[in-house]
């Protein structure tokens, strides 16, 4: 539990907790971006360079921008905002706390060895090799999935044509 892990963990938790509890939606997305950057730095600390940079490139550079565009286009910010919490917020938060309690109990009761394996330096060459040989089928399926998602998102967001006069 090094100091850097504690700082990064605090940063990530602060960012995500703020993202889920702020009223102004744009502030939510901006603090969420901070949480994503904290997570990316945690990946870098664990030695997964490729995943860390991909996290920033995809999540910060694309998903956050997408969320912001959606907020702008649905006009969810402005003077006529709705109340922040849904009408079922009490059961929701009880369930979430219960989930955290069960997970924390499971983690702490399963902690066994204190031996830390040595850092395994993975190069991007190995990741590419694995993607092309061992994980070739998931890669192709991912390509199909992304194409389907692209076409689907475009069709969903296209303005509807007016009927024939």
């Amino acid at each position: 539990m090094t100091v850097s892990f504690l700082i990064l963990a605090a940063l990530t938790i602060a960012g995500t907790a703020a993202a889920m509890s702020l009223r102004n939606l744009i502030h939510c997305v901006l603090t969420l971006t901070l949480g994503f950057v904290g997570l990316a730095m945690l990946y870098l600390q664990l030695g997964a360079q490729f995943v860390g940079f991909t996290q920033i490139l995809v999540y910060v550079g694309a998903v956050a921008i997408l969320a912001v565009f959606a907020i702008m286009m649905t006009q969810s910010v402005g003077p006529h905002v709705q109340p922040a919490l849904s009408s079922f917020w009490v059961p929701g938060s009880v369930v979430a706390s219960a989930v955290f309690a069960v997970l924390a109990w499971a983690i702490c009761s399963g902690a066994t060895s204190v031996r830390t394996p040595p850092q395994h330096d993975v190069s991007v060459n190995q990741i590419g090799d694995a993607l092309m040989h061992k994980f070739a089928l998931p890669l192709e399926i991912m390509g199909l999935l992304l194409t389907a998602a692209l076409i689907g998102a475009v069709i969903l967001a296209m303005p509807e044509k007016k009927g024939e006069q």
Binding site: I26, T33, F53, V60, G61, A62, F69, S123, N125
Partner: protein, 353 residues
């Protein structure tokens, strides 16, 4: 530090250069031939009053230029400026550079939204749409080099280009796919830095300054600095990927220090950027998006295919011919197919006397 002083030099070069392109003198009052203009500009931006709109979001308004400059500076960590002169030799260096570049988009949105101004929000949306659209050809045209070099590390990519056959260097720009990749990379880099002819988001004749309308004084200077630093960083990456990094162009010139070659190439690319700014008219938004998705994306994908063909054909004149044909033919077909049929008149020029 070096790049910050390069920024000061570039502002004066740009204004005088643009002035000459537009058949007028640039600034020539401050100092001999106007060369001390950056000092005057710096003093002005430091002492101007910092105005923040009343309904603006203060924290986000302050953070946006800071994040922009930080992200722009972060990209320099993986550029090899000379032999054994790279700040961090990351295994995934090129990916780190693109990740640092994608943080800029968030900061542009923060700048545009926090100003509580319709025009700045509109400019920010345009800028983000443009940057996201051009990030795809940018990364795809860099993938060609990564394929050829076999590594994402910038140091390895430069070392792969360090040999000489006779006196000619092995730079990737001297291959058909490398040349096409270089041209596509530079076009996408111009669009990524919101420079002319892609500067609709900051079009000075349309929405005044786009997403940084409401910024004054030092924060405006930070935005300016961030934009130019982004331009230098992408030029530096283009030099690393295509132009051989710190390698000398001819084998008998290797006695000149490596960092001098890097800076000479950087200055050449900056001059090319200024030249493009002074020459081309601004692209409209739909032309800009059409160029990215309909022209550059297919060209970069075909470029990747051509690089694969180059790798597997035996060395000789045949692979030059095949690869050149594989790039030129789609280029002609695409540009003929996408052209709008308009009759253009013969242009006449009039010069100021």
């Amino acid at each position: 530090m070096v790049f910050a002083s390069l920024f000061a030099v570039t502002t004066i070069l740009e204004r005088k250069g643009l002035g000459r392109f537009q058949n007028r003198y640039g600034p020539n009052r401050v100092g001999p031939y106007g060369l001390l203009q950056p000092l005057a500009d710096g003093l002005k931006s430091l002492t101007k009053e910092d105005i923040v709109p009343r309904s603006a979001d203060k924290v986000v308004h302050l953070l946006a230029p800071l994040i922009l400059v930080t992200a722009a500076f972060l990209g320099y960590a993986v550029l090899p400026i000379g032999r054994n002169m790279v700040a961090v030799n990351l295994d995934a260096g090129v990916l780190y550079f693109f990740a640092a570049g994608s943080i800029v988009e968030v900061s542009i949105f923060m700048a545009g939204w926090s100003s509580a101004n319709k025009y700045s929000l509109l400019g920010a949306m345009r800028a983000i749409a443009q940057m996201i659209s051009y990030e795809v050809p940018l990364i795809l045209s860099a993938i060609v080099v990564i394929m050829a070099a076999g590594s994402l590390s910038t140091v390895t990519i430069v070392e792969q280009q360090a040999g000489y056959t006779g006196i000619f260097p092995h730079w990737y720009v001297f291959t058909p796919w490398g040349f096409a990749g270089f041209v596509l990379f530079m076009i996408a880099a111009t669009a990524e830095s919101n420079r002319s002819p892609f500067d609709l988001p900051e079009g000075e004749s349309e929405i005044i300054a786009g997403y940084y309308i409401e910024y004054s004084g030092f924060k405006f200077a930070l935005f300016f600095l961030g934009e130019y630093l982004g331009m230098f960083a992408t030029s530096g990456l283009a030099i690393t990927l295509f132009l051989g990094g710190w390698a000398a162009p001819f084998s008998f010139l290797t006695w000149i220090p490596s960092y001098l070659w890097f800076f000479l190439k950087l200055l050449t690319l900056i001059a090319a950027f200024i030249w493009a700014r002074g020459t081309f008219p601004r692209l409209r938004m739909d032309q800009l998006m059409g160029l990215a998705w309909k022209f550059m994306l297919p060209m970069t994908l075909l470029n990747i295919f051509t690089a694969g063909v180059w790798h597997f054909m035996p060395t000789g004149i045949s692979r030059w011919l095949v690869c050149t044909f594989l790039i030129v033919a789609p280029w002609m077909l695409l540009s003929r197919g996408l052209k709008q049929r308009k009759k253009l008149q013969v242009r006449t020029y009039r010069f100021a006397e």
